[in-house]
């Protein structure tokens, strides 16, 4: 499903973030991406939805060959890859409902479907009753739930979560984790970059440790493996 071969990424400022990385992730997997800050985790994740373009190598996501993907086609890739960020990135002037609906308007779905699916995903993340509120009226955990609802609205095959619990207290973080598990159980591939050792060690999944721009460890049901 996701395939990277011999990938290099050198930024214009001379820093080599990814240095010969190989990895294959199958459809439906749940993968943690761990590693020290500055080891290339973020770059690795950004290459999956083409926010960053590798300097060299092969990157394939589903039927998309990212090395030969025209800029014009990037939006179509992103409709298959939902992304959730540490800072949520909700549109502040739109209500919760509109934020979720927006991702579907972009894909030109008809308004009835949008209405139905928005309420469905908001129900899944447990925020149907707050649909009319604005993001700044919600707690951090609730905002992250809205972000997740938006990311899965178009039923992407992959959900990328970049430190989704980074800004949240432990209890809220567990709630988000349960939600991601549930989405994974419905068949969506989940790639989650995290610094949260407790989560990684308790909810065991495949662990990819990124160090010096390479996969230093690839372990099924692995441990976090770093001192926090």
């Amino acid at each position: 499903m996701i395939e990277m071969k011999n990938v290099y990424k050198k930024y214009p400022n001379g820093i080599t973030a990814i240095n010969g990385l190989d990895v294959t992730i199958d459809q439906g997997e749940f993968v943690y991406v761990v590693g020290p800050s500055g080891a290339g985790k973020s770059t690795f994740i950004k290459m999956i939805y083409r926010e960053e373009m590798p300097t060299k190598g092969t990157v394939k996501v589903g039927e998309f060959d990212l090395m030969n993907l025209k800029n014009k086609k990037i939006p179509y890739l992103r409709r298959h890859v939902g992304v959730v960020f540490q800072d949520f990135k909700l549109l502040p002037r739109l209500t919760v409902f509109e934020n979720v609906a927006y991702a579907m308007q972009v894909v030109n779905r008809n308004p009835k479907q949008i209405q139905k699916r928005s309420l469905e995903v908001l129900d899944l993340v447990g925020l149907k009753h707050k649909a009319r509120m604005f993001p700044n009226e919600l707690s951090g955990g609730e905002q992250q739930r809205v972000a997740i609802a938006r990311a899965i609205a178009n039923m992407p095959r992959v959900l990328i979560a970049d430190e989704p619990t980074g800004n949240l207290d432990p209890e809220t973080a567990w709630g988000i984790m349960d939600l991601l598990e549930e989405i994974n159980n419905q068949g969506t591939t989940i790639i989650m970059a995290t610094h949260n050792s407790e989560i990684v060690n308790r909810v065991r999944h495949r662990v990819l440790a990124v160090e010096n721009g390479r996969i230093a460890r690839d372990q099924e049901r692995g441990e976090y493996g770093y001192e926090n």
């Binding site: 939805y49 926010e51 014009k72 939006p75 179509y76 890739l77 992103r78 409709r79 992304v83 990135k89 909700l90 549109l91 002037r93 927006y102 991702a103 308007q105 972009v106 894909v107 030109n108 008809n110 308004p111 938006r150 990311a151 178009n154």
Partner: protein, 296 residues
């Protein structure tokens, strides 16, 4: 594009105009002030230009008929003159008419010269089709023969006048072009600032898989609307001032060769120009400004 999508873009742009109330206000005022400046200066310069042309038009070639020329010869001269190209009108002013002009300008004492003592000549006054033909026409008229005593069009003075008018016109054109560029720059800059504050929004749109045009359309429509509304204000101010100013000034100028540009079509052209600048710059400015943010 589907009608539903077009409707969505229009709705979005209105929503954004309202939700970004203060930014909209700032952008509309910037457009209004800039276009007010551009519009009034264009109106002023175009009228200065018109007056310059009027002055030039006023220059005519005077062909002095030799004293003692018989009426038949004079009529022959007239038909010779009519042969010359680029003449719009030939007027005849007899020596008596000329003397009366002199008496009118310099005083009744010149009445002494009335009758046979009149030293003046009969004159044909040639109005050329355009100022640049003046020298040429004068030359050809002088070449007709001994019936022509002298030809005069102010010579060096008229040439100098033409030069000055040419300069005035060129400076005016340069100022107008510079102003339009300033307007373009100012308006697109203001819109750039409005959009800059929404770069996160654009970033998120890109991340959820919006195509560039899907993001661009609402901004484009919003820019055009801001430009249009911003242009309406100077358009109404300039129209009002020009119409009232035109009536007043034309009162003073009546009976002279000079006149302002009539509101129809001049004012209509200015209105069209300002509205076009507003809408075109508004939409182009906004789509250019978001171009940078679309590269995510």
């Amino acid at each position: 594009m589907k009608i539903r999508t077009a409707g969505r873009h229009i709705k979005e742009s209105f929503k954004s105009i309202i939700r970004n109330g203060w930014m909209t206000f700032a952008a509309v005022s910037a457009v209004a002030i800039t276009l007010l400046l551009v519009g009034s200066l264009i109106a002023l310069l175009m009228n200065v230009n018109k007056l310059a042309s009027d002055v030039e038009e006023d220059v005519s070639v005077r062909v002095y008929v030799a004293t003692g020329t018989e009426e038949e010869e004079r009529e022959a001269l007239r038909s010779d003159l009519e042969e010359i190209e680029n003449i719009e009108e030939i007027e005849f002013s007899s020596r008596e008419d000329e003397l009366e002009n002199v008496m009118g300008s310099y005083g009744e004492e010149f009445g002494l010269f009335e009758g046979d003592d009149n030293p003046l000549h009969d004159v044909f006054i040639l109005n050329t089709a355009a100022p640049e033909f003046t020298a040429e026409v004068a030359e050809e008229a002088a070449a007709i023969g001994p019936v022509v005593d002298d030809v005069n069009y102010g010579g060096a003075e008229a040439d100098r006048l033409f030069e000055i008018m040419e300069t005035v016109r060129n400076i005016g054109a340069v100022i107008i072009i510079a102003l339009i560029f300033t307007a373009v720059f100012l308006i697109s800059n203001t819109i750039r600032i409005t959009i800059f504050s929404r770069r996160t929004e654009i970033e998120i749109m890109k991340l959820v898989g919006a195509t560039n045009w899907f993001i661009r359309w609402p901004f484009l429509i919003e820019g055009a609307l801001i430009g249009f509304v911003g242009a309406l204000i100077p358009v109404s101010i300039i129209s009002y001032l020009y119409l009232s100013g035109f009536d007043t000034l034309m009162g003073y100028l009546s009976g002279t060769y000079f006149g302002l540009l009539p509101p129809n079509p001049f004012l209509i052209q200015i209105v069209a120009l300002l509205l076009t600048i507003g809408v075109v710059i508004g939409s182009i400015g906004s789509s250019l400004s978001i171009r940078k943010f679309l590269k995510v």
